[in-house]
């Protein structure tokens, strides 16, 4: 089946891509670039990197901009799916949704309206298992956003490794955080994965943190040989 993947450039969409590639043809990526820093629907930090990531993966990407206003952003998403349907003849959409009923409900409804299949291969996946799967598959993933106490600037830009998974697991239990950030506590950016033909090298960045909220913003990056 020809499918499009909702691509944020973060760990979940990349892992969903890897799982789907084993069974179906992912023919394009779809990214929504939201101006709303607090979007419940779309990943925000480093979303501008998705074009470079798509290039590294070797897949075409449809990028749509949205103001990020609550229901209007769904129309923008729908337009992107329509474009993918017309241009790449897709029969369905894949997402990296894990537990967000809010996000999943809205995407399922859009797919239903457009007569598209909707697949969520990470749905309800254990979050620590998910983080470990990234390590087992040799992903290079950095934390590009933290949005909940006690996650602070110390986490920004760090590569997800065994040590950080242990820290997130401990903090998750103590402060009732989702250790993989499914509740929006952290956002990530993937620099390399098994299906990347080239990997990403960060040349410049800006890290900012204030009031339990911070972003590691990649300002210059390039694709390099693996």
């Amino acid at each position: 089946m020809k499918l499009a993947l909702m691509f944020s450039g973060g760990k979940d969409s990349c892992l969903a891509l890897q799982k789907t590639m084993r069974m179906h043809d992912i023919v394009c990526l779809v990214s929504i670039i939201s101006k709303n820093q607090e979007s419940y629907m779309f990943h925000v930090p480093n979303i501008g990197m998705t074009k470079l990531q798509a290039n590294c993966i070797g897949l075409p990407i449809i990028q749509k901009f949205t103001e990020g206003k609550k229901e209007k952003e769904l129309d923008d998403l729908k337009e992107a799916f329509i474009e993918a349907k017309e241009k790449y003849k897709i029969e369905g959409i894949v997402t990296g949704a894990i537990r967000s009923v809010y996000q999943s409900t809205r995407i399922q409804k859009i797919c239903r309206d457009l007569d598209l299949w909707c697949f969520n291969p990470l749905w309800l996946k254990d979050q620590i298992e998910l983080l470990k799967e990234l390590l087992d598959n040799k992903y290079t993933v950095i934390i590009s956003g933290v949005f909940a106490y006690p996650l602070n600037e110390r986490f920004l830009g760090r590569i997800i490794d065994k040590k950080i998974i242990g820290e997130l697991e401990t903090l998750g239990k103590k402060f009732k955080l989702n250790p993989a950030g499914e509740g929006g506590e952290i956002e990530t950016t993937v620099l390399d994965a098994p299906f990347f033909k080239r990997k990403i090298e960060i040349l410049d960045y800006k890290s900012s943190y204030n009031n339990n909220s911070g972003v590691f913003d990649i300002s210059i990056a390039k694709a390099v040989k693996k």
Binding site: Q108, R112, W123
Partner: protein, 167 residues
């Protein structure tokens, strides 16, 4: 693909609670598989998948069964009930109307991903409603249950109670 989304979460609940399970595609279930099983859970599937409606699930016998979403539709159909197109997608309130072994709460929220409901009640005792639509049932004289919503998302106790209840 749907296995990761609709079967794996149920498998995780079963295994995390110390039980074991055999996973089989409904198209390949044999009478021997059923004979060896204590209880059976029939999962849901993707919204655009209707293949299950072509099968008559002849292997269903007197073993306790919990049908989830498509699984519940299939059970209702198997006992001669009529299905009708009706889309319910998202989180909705469910009101319990009959006491049962699977859930004790009188009112709870559940996640629905559904495009068909049943409109007749042949051999079915209705246990719960959402906006006047029957969404949970038990067979009148068999330990066969159906939930049109997905308990693995917000009501995991239903699955656990089904597993641990003695019949």
């Amino acid at each position: 693909m749907s296995e990761l989304e609709f079967v794996k979460p149920i498998e995780d609940i079963i295994k995390k609670n110390g039980f074991s399970c055999l996973i089989k595609n409904y198209k390949h279930v044999s009478k021997e598989d059923v004979r060896k099983s204590e209880k059976i859970i029939i999962s849901g599937t993707a919204l655009k998948d209707f293949d299950y409606l072509k099968k008559n699930f002849s292997w269903l016998d007197d073993k306790p069964v919990l049908g989830i979403c498509a699984g519940a539709q299939m059970i209702a159909k198997k006992f001669g009930n009529v299905l009708k197109d009706e889309e319910i997608i998202g989180k909705f309130k469910v009101k319990l109307t009959e006491e049962n072994k699977l859930i004790g709460k009188k009112e709870f929220e559940s996640y629905f991903l559904l495009s068909k409901i049943f409109i007749t009640r042949k051999d079915l005792k209705i246990l719960a409603f959402t906006n006047d639509i029957p969404v949970m049932f038990k067979h009148s004289n068999k330990e066969i249950y159906g939930c049109l919503f997905h308990p693995e998302v917000l009501n995991q106790e239903i699955i656990l109670n089904f597993i641990i209840s003695s019949y």
